[in-house]
């Protein structure tokens, strides 16, 4: 029974709760126990909240018994990346500078999911301030990949990916600034969604690069991911960049099929940099999309090769401004100094890890007098070029398909000595954030080379999530991988 619950997925669990076959307390207890079982090996959690989870589950069971559930998913537990502020529950963003910080309010995402009746299992490990592609930049501990514990789960939402891949949570929330949901979803064999910029409120999410940051769901299936996104998407007066219109419905036409869709294959994304096994699986995926009735067309994104350069100027510039708030005054660490400048400089030197310091330095430099036009100014123009080229592509096709990550999960320590090599992990994902588009990672099986998951990325224009989910759902169903035993890492 327990294994059946753990691998069922949120939609199936909601059906079981509805029919009274199981209670939310039983479901929540099963995930709490599984989380505890795998956490020692995987390093997924920074904070377990079993009491809150069970209290939430009991309340959900009460509502269902009274015939008044808070919604379809009332009583299905969830876990959050530790970048979402949670009222009364410690939140660190994976940094020592926020050790012991207890938020006085919750992020809108947390508030809406709580209102929908989702008990919180805990807060998940991540790269410090979401800066990283391997989860080795957590100030507390690295996260390990359930498929091979000598390998990274990807980052920065590594904990959010690893815990769902190991069935310690049915679904989870992460954030994606340059690929931080899609890349770990790819490396862990999950569905991960980077929604259109502005679709999900950023209120209460600890800021990294505000014009790129976007929260999104991890789940084992496309339908579950679309459902979790539905619970939190939509306008929020507390985030001035949230899109004011009501969000589209992601589930109504999810099974509408792919027939007649035009899908563009970016020729620049299929080059030498990809692992042969990744190439094989992704090319098979293109064939499958065609078999399902889509028209495949080659498209070109010539400015793609400048995406990483532009991203690693824009994101650090915004990060250097956002992280100025960690000054030892209002919250977090303080290291004493004779005057305020020494106090602040010592606090920041001790509280931030190496990657965060590197990006603050890079961003401060890119914004400093004499260099602004050459670096930040130019990067913003490259951003325009990439967005424009994608717009031109969307005049010919509905969606764009490409690999999510050029490699499968790499070994811990493999890229830590070379920041640039680590940055190149994001080569296929950053353009989507720069342009504010939507994208999803859908598993396409495991690589014939190493048996590790490979992911297909489907990119959609802003607010075209319904179409994106439809294509992903059709692909997932036809492949049938996620419901097979093979999709369950033997941990």
């Amino acid at each position: 029974m327990t294994a059946e619950l753990l691998w069922a997925g949120a939609t199936a669990l909601a059906g079981m709760l509805d029919r009274g076959e199981v209670s939310s307390v039983e479901v929540t207890e099963a995930f709490l126990a599984r989380s505890e079982e795998v956490d020692g090996t995987l390093g997924t959690y920074l904070e377990h909240t079993p009491d809150a989870a069970l209290a939430g589950a009991r309340a959900a069971d009460g509502r269902r018994a009274a015939g008044k559930p808070a919604g379809r998913f009332d009583g299905i537990p969830v876990a959050y990346k530790d970048i979402f502020c949670t009222d009364g529950v410690p939140t660190t963003a994976g940094s020592k500078i926020l050790e012991g910080f207890v938020p006085p309010y919750s992020a809108t995402v947390v508030e809406r999911c709580t209102r929908a009746g989702l008990p919180m299992l805990g807060k998940l490990n991540m790269d410090e301030f979401a800066m990283g592609s391997s989860n080795e930049n957590s100030a507390y501990k690295p996260v390990r990949n359930p498929w091979d514990t000598e390998r990274v789960p990807g980052g920065s939402s590594g904990g959010s990916a690893a815990i769902v891949a190991a069935a310690g949570a049915p679904w989870s929330w992460g954030t994606d600034t340059g690929g931080s949901i899609r890349q770990p979803a790819s490396l862990c064999g999950l569905v991960g969604v980077k929604p259109t910029y502005g679709l999900v409120s950023r209120y209460g999410i600890i800021a990294f690069a505000s014009s790129l940051d976007q929260a999104g769901p991890f789940a084992r299936t496309v339908e579950d991911a679309a459902a979790l996104l539905s619970l939190a998407a939509g306008p929020d007066a507390r985030d001035a960049t949230s899109i004011p219109a009501a969000p589209p419905n992601f589930l109504d036409e999810i099974d509408g099929g792919i027939k007649g869709m035009k899908i563009g294959i970016v020729k620049e994304f299929m080059g030498e940099g990809n692992d042969p096994g990744v190439r094989t699986r992704v090319e098979e995926a293109y064939t499958r999309l065609e078999k399902l009735g889509a028209t495949i067309e080659e498209v070109s994104l010539p400015s793609f090769e400048y995406g990483i350069s532009a991203y690693y100027l824009v994101a650090p510039a915004e990060c250097s401004a956002n992280l100025a708030r960690y000054d030892g005054v209002r919250y977090g660490l303080r290291v004493e100094g004779d005057d305020i400048i020494r106090m602040t400089s010592r606090t920041r030197a001790e509280g931030f890890g190496a990657e965060v310091k590197r990006r603050i330095m890079l961003g401060t430099y890119a914004l400093s007098a004499g260099y602004y036009d050459a670096y930040y100014g130019k990067a913003q123009k490259v951003r325009t070029l990439i967005a424009r080229e994608l717009e031109e592509i969307y005049e010919r096709v509905d969606l764009v398909a490409c690999p999510t990550s050029p490699t499968t999960a790499f070994r811990l320590g493999e890229r830590t000595d070379d920041p640039l090599a680590m940055y190149l992990s994001d080569v296929f994902t950053v353009a989507v954030n720069l342009a504010g588009n939507a994208a999803i990672n859908v598993p396409c099986g495991t690589s014939p080379d190493d048996g590790l998951p490979v992911g297909l990325q489907l990119i959609a224009p802003a607010l075209a999530e319904p179409l994106m989910f439809r294509a992903a759902y059709a692909f997932e169903g036809d492949l049938g991988w996620i419901n097979s035993r093979e999709a369950r890492p033997a941990l």
């Binding site: 005054v329 010592r346 310091k357 123009k381």
Partner: protein, 99 residues
């Protein structure tokens, strides 16, 4: 553009309020140069007439009604402060004593 020298690293660290150690400064110089070298790629692009993009959503100055709503109580706003005095954040001296 030229490469980042040690003097610039010191200057930027001061602007960023980061009291870096000797070792960190030298390592930072090497790593930043490596990253900036990659970023040099975009210097070769002809970007004349291309408008810079700060944001992907075309929203400008969203207004809301200027109404009174509950805000964070003082006690909660101060609950995470390293040092508090008389309901305020306490910081080290900012202005030197005169004379």
């Amino acid at each position: 553009m030229g490469s980042l020298d040690r003097k610039t690293v010191d200057h930027v660290a001061r602007l960023a309020r980061l009291d870096l150690s000797e070792g960190e400064r030298e390592k930072m110089r090497l790593e930043l140069n490596n990253i900036l070298e990659h970023a040099e790629k975009i210097q070769a692009l002809d970007l004349d007439g291309v408008a810079p993009m700060a944001h992907s959503v075309p929203l400008v100055n969203r207004m809301r009604a200027d109404g009174v709503a509950p805000s964070l109580p003082q006690e909660k706003a101060l609950q995470n402060a390293p040092e508090v005095e008389d309901g305020r954040f306490r910081v080290p001296r900012i202005i030197e004593d005169e004379g």
